[in-house]
Symmetry: C2
Subunit: 417 residues, 2 copies
């Protein structure tokens, strides 16, 4: 009783698009506790699709198709499945009327080719598509074979999955036990260093604890199979608490928490405001902070001091220090943080100055050298020196600089609260 | 003589990662003109992997594996392939020494488990991995079967593909005719409007012209199969020229061109400088501009005027106008552009003020209302009003605002040059 995902589309074989549908469905199957051992990608070709169905039927009992439900001659998933199971198609008048109505509501007439989307194998049920014109189907053509079809458009597929496929699969007995996961997120500690600290937990079997790859962030996933969220939390929470205690300040949030959201909450809670002075990040730190709706409650703004003259004119950086120590120096970072804090009249001021590369580095100041200044409400400024350069490109150095700066503020806010 | 991509990894079946390796390899196979009809994903499981190999061997002759080359007990791609073709493994002393050396260079001792990565089937060649510890292999275990294996880490896989696999496949006669594509990129015109203008070209068979889905940008792909780049360009260029003439200023670049790079080149060429005043984008425009290495040649910096007081203090926006017309108004956009141009002493000044949402909208000023100001070297300011709101979320409204602002500058630079 395993599921198999079969993605139909020549655009996948040409590499035109990345197969995000397979990932989404795989994650959903795992959540419902439905085993899933194979995924197949095949082009818009009747014979090859039939061969893929024949193979899938031998090894899987729930066949989930995406793609090939459109109105063009290339779209042949429905008719090929029907043909494989030697079943004829019927035209559903209700669905046809719905498709026509969708065109009418857009002020257009339905092209004749779209009538094909109202065809379905005898005995199959439609799987409604609330947003697009291509409905899918749910069909049990023979004992031990269930077919679900979805269009390839991810947003349509996802909505159909959530609104119809999940309830259907639950009605078939799936999802009574499902996998619940909690992701814990960390900053300022490497994956292997964290793994060493919590190594004793990796041997647990319920819940399981595992590191989880993610761009730039270190995460641990705590997972358990349980009949309800409540039951899952009873298993997950004690382990989560233990990990948080071990990690201390390196832990910053769980699940959907993001660093700018966490920092924003801390600022809001402490009724404090923030401004930024950015050189090598060019506005990227401000961009991250203002991704959060409502960030105007605590974010005053900033100065992008790319040109040294801007550092002097808008941030009151000392021209002599600029000349003597260079723009990428601890003293300039210090003055930038103080300058933006004062000019924008905020409680905190963050500054970033560094060499993002690929050019501009030297032996004493290599690419990736970054100074981060943090001016506190008490008037103290601390500057940290970082070397982000090795094996990192310009965009990564800039991104890690911005997140590291934000994380320094987070730690200070936590210590002071 | 078709290729099949077989991605091995339970993390793919759990939906932990999206299968970007399959897309990369699919694109590369298409470029080399190697037919490719199926992709398979299978977990880290000996029996199921063997079944997948058996199926693939029946229908494909070049089997490309990714994943399962690591040092852990779960990594079993090499031994399973060898076992399937009833071939024993040998330990390669040279490769073993290389793996040990990689650990030594990191100041670490090689864990015993890594010695497994020096195992290879008798008769197979190693496919060197310059960046990681897991080499792949190239092997013809029997007539009409070629095996290529790669680690799952995308950066390692790509480098191995480019440095070793492509030359190998070319030596086998592939790539004599390959698909060459040129992508033309457009701003300021919708996909369907552009499609109507160039509809007569969609019927061409050599080269083919097709719209190409891409986030936020409209693109056309012109493609042809040819024995050399030169021959391809003779087919592609006349059509590209025709499209560029039809599109006029809406065309901004080709292939790897990006909007900030194109604008940067225009500024550099005209020896002009730029500064930005950002409200709702919060630094995102500066971030995009400074993605380009060397942007300090023409980018002075900017002011992130999130708080209205910053607009007054650092951009000389009139406080009365702020109160009378609100921060999101044409007159404030105008003053912001002039203010940043003057304060940062640059030739051009761009301003963005708008409502990114999801909150903060009203009937007269809905979410998505954005004003973009552009102050020119001649001292003129033009403000454009945009309504980006419908069906767009906060991040998309911010991104489209930044790119639209940059595109306005591009058009002005082109008209004036």
């Amino acid at each position: 009783m395993a599921a198999e995902i079969i993605c139909v589309g020549t655009e996948l074989l040409l590499g035109d698009i990345v197969n995000t549908n397979a990932q989404y469905l795989a994650l959903e199957l795992a959540k419902l506790g439905i085993p899933h051992y194979y995924q197949t990608v095949v082009g818009d070709n009747v014979e090859r699709l039939k061969k893929a169905i024949a193979i899938a039927r031998e090894r899987s009992s729930i066949l989930i198709f995406t793609g090939g439900l459109g109105p063009t001659p290339d779209d042949l998933t429905t008719e090929t499945i029907a043909d494989f199971f030697q079943t004829s198609l019927r035209e559903d008048q209700e669905i046809l009327a719905e498709i026509e109505a969708k065109f009418t509501s857009l002020g257009r007439e339905m092209p004749p080719s779209n009538s094909k989307q109202a065809l379905i194998p005898m005995g199959a049920d439609f799987l409604p598509n609330p947003t697009g014109t291509a409905p899918g189907m749910i069909w049990q053509p023979e004992a031990n074979v269930t077919i679900l079809t979805f269009p390839g458009v991810p947003s349509e597929m996802k909505r159909m999955w959530v609104e119809t496929a999940i309830p259907y699969l639950e009605s078939q007995g799936w999802g009574k036990e499902r996998i619940y996961s909690r992701y814990l997120k960390f900053r300022g500690i490497g994956e292997s260093a964290l793994a060493e600290k919590v190594a004793h937990l990796f041997d647990l079997t319920n819940p399981t604890v595992a590191p989880y790859a993610s761009l730039g962030e270190v995460r641990l996933r705590i997972a358990t199979k349980a009949p309800s969220l409540e039951a899952a939390l009873q298993v997950i929470e004690p382990v989560a608490t233990e990990i948080k205690e071990i990690a201390g300040l390196d832990y910053f949030g769980a699940d959907d928490d993001t660093l700018p959201a966490v920092v924003g909450e801390l600022l809001r809670w402490q009724k404090q405001t923030l401004s930024v002075a950015e050189s090598c990040t060019g506005g990227g730190l401000g961009e991250i902070i203002t991704q959060i709706a409502g960030s105007s409650d605590y974010f005053g703004g900033g100065v992008i001091s790319y040109d040294n003259r801007v550092k002097v004119a808008l941030l009151d950086v000392n021209e002599g220090d600029l000349n003597n120590f260079g723009a990428v120096s601890a003293i300039v970072a210090q003055q930038m943080a103080l300058g933006v804090q004062k000019r924008l009249a905020t409680d905190w001021g963050i500054s970033i100055t560094g060499i993002a590369g690929p050019g501009g580095g030297s032996e004493t100041k290599p690419v990736g050298l970054v100074y981060i200044g943090l001016a506190s409400p008490e008037g103290n400024v601390t500057v940290s020196e970082h070397r982000f350069g090795e094996n990192r490109d310009r965009l990564t150095i800039r991104q890690i600089s911005a997140y590291t700066a934000l994380d320094r503020l987070r730690r200070n806010l936590l210590i002071m609260s």
